[in-house]
């Protein structure tokens, strides 16, 4: 299982990489549009003055056996929910992955939507259906804020759980999404763009797509992290099992030695008793010799 996970990390990492050009260019396009002054009043870009309900999109795995991967995402989600609850905000849960579903369902949380069955190999379609599920309530005003909680894949050795606002789209995020962790705008200003159709109309089509692309990147990051976590957990499990085998083998040998020794002691004791009874020293002498060698051989 460790090896399976290890081979999947590479593939998952490849998919994260393959998604980069798309999300990078789409971010550029959104930024160009924003620079042209479009969509200042778009609901997807404007923070709500009063936040009554926060939706949490929790991305965890479908399966366990991956160490603390699921529990750390869930812990981050609960932490964020508590923070918002302290401000008197209601919550909504959109869960990705069977593990997050079973956790929250068992604790009787109110669950708005569940998506599962693809955590180790998400497709763009999956991202789209999740995006649709949160976008409609957001636009209708049911959710005032949508948060995305997932594990970001930094490298095979490092993954971190992040809580990111997803809707409304933050201008700050436009400048540094998942795809380009260190990149900042190269200072190019979109001057003199022509638009077809009107910028507002393009933005209206573009923003949902942008949200999908971000979600897709998050799903891919989570999938790669899941494989990495599983590989590490399985490696630890193998190592622990090896240690356990060594120590148990020792316990077993000791027990065997003990039983042999006590058996010999009984024989010797018996022979001693016989000798005292019959005064035949010779046979006991040889039995004595044998006992002295026996424990050494078993050790």
């Amino acid at each position: 299982m460790e090896l399976i996970a290890a081979s999947r990390i590479v593939r998952a990492q490849g998919r994260v990489q393959a998604a980069v050009p798309y999300s990078e260019t789409i971010t550029e396009v959104v930024r160009d549009l924003a620079a042209a002054g479009a969509g200042r009043e778009s609901p997807l870009l404007t923070p709500r003055p009063e936040i009554k309900k926060v939706a949490h999109v929790v991305v965890a795995a479908d399966r366990g056996l991956c160490g603390g991967y699921n529990s750390s995402v869930i812990r981050a989600a609960e932490g964020s929910m508590r923070e918002h609850a302290a401000l008197g905000r209601d919550y909504a849960l959109v869960l990705v992955g069977r593990k997050s579903e079973s956790y929250f369902r068992y604790r009787n949380f109110r669950i708005d939507a569940v998506f599962s069955g693809f955590s180790d190999q998400p497709s763009y379609e999956n991202a789209r259906s999740i995006a649709r599920a949160v976008e409609a309530p957001f636009l209708s005003g049911e959710y005032d804020l949508v948060e995305l909680i997932y594990t970001r894949f930094v490298s095979a050795g490092r993954q971190e759980v992040v809580v990111r606002p997803m809707m409304p789209l933050d201008v700050e995020i436009l400048e540094g999404g998942d795809a380009r962790p260190d990149a900042h705008g190269d200072g190019e200003v979109a001057a003199g763009y022509e638009f077809e159709p009107e910028p507002e109309e393009i933005l209206e089509r573009l923003l949902p797509v942008y949200a999908e692309a971000r979600l897709y990147a998050a799903l891919l990051n989570a999938a790669a992290s899941e494989h990495a976590a599983r590989q590490r957990a399985m490696k630890a499990a193998t190592d622990n099992a090896d240690d356990l085998i060594t120590s148990l083998t020792r316990v077993m040998n000791r027990a065997r030695q003990d039983s042999i020794t006590s058996e010999i002691m009984e024989i010797v004791g018996g022979a001693e008793a016989l000798r005292k009874g019959k005064h035949t020293a010779d046979s006991v002498e040889s039995a004595h010799e044998a006992t002295e060698h026996q424990p050494g051989a078993a050790a």
Partner: protein, 134 residues
């Protein structure tokens, strides 16, 4: 006439990246072609074929693009689409089946937008795959 840098990108992969002499695509407003040095432009694409005219003798590269966006910045054309396929990636029997299904559905409910969109997509796939002359 020079060339420009052309990229066709979908979330899963970069479909095409290279030089091109002209890019022809259809926006929501109508057909449009870009030559090197075109004014910076941002447009929303319809469900249509995108053609990249490659420098001779390479002919052209086509792709089926199901909505998306095109950004032109002087010497660079980027086509972005969440669903985009190269001719060789298209599953022709599947598209054919989808077309028949959509047509059959439209006969009973001609106003169904979803079926109409499905038909457009199937037609586009078949056109790009080259089994129906475009």
């Amino acid at each position: 006439m020079g060339t420009m840098h052309v990229m066709v990108v979908s979330p899963e992969q970069v479909l095409y990246e290279g030089e091109g002499e002209m890019v022809v695509c259809r926006t929501t407003e109508g057909e449009i072609a870009f030559l090197p040095g075109h004014t910076p432009l941002l447009a929303a694409l319809g469900t249509a074929k995108v053609r990249v005219i490659l420098p001779a003798p390479d002919g052209e590269q086509t792709a089926a693009v199901h909505e998306g966006f095109v950004e032109v910045t002087g010497e660079r054309v980027v086509v972005l689409s969440d669903v985009a396929e190269l001719p060789e990636q298209i599953d022709v029997p599947r598209a054919q089946a989808a077309k028949e299904r959509a047509e059959a559905g439209l006969r009973t409910e001609p106003e169904n937008q979803e079926l109409r969109a499905a038909l457009t997509r199937a037609d586009l796939r078949l056109e790009v795959a080259g089994s129906v002359p475009g």
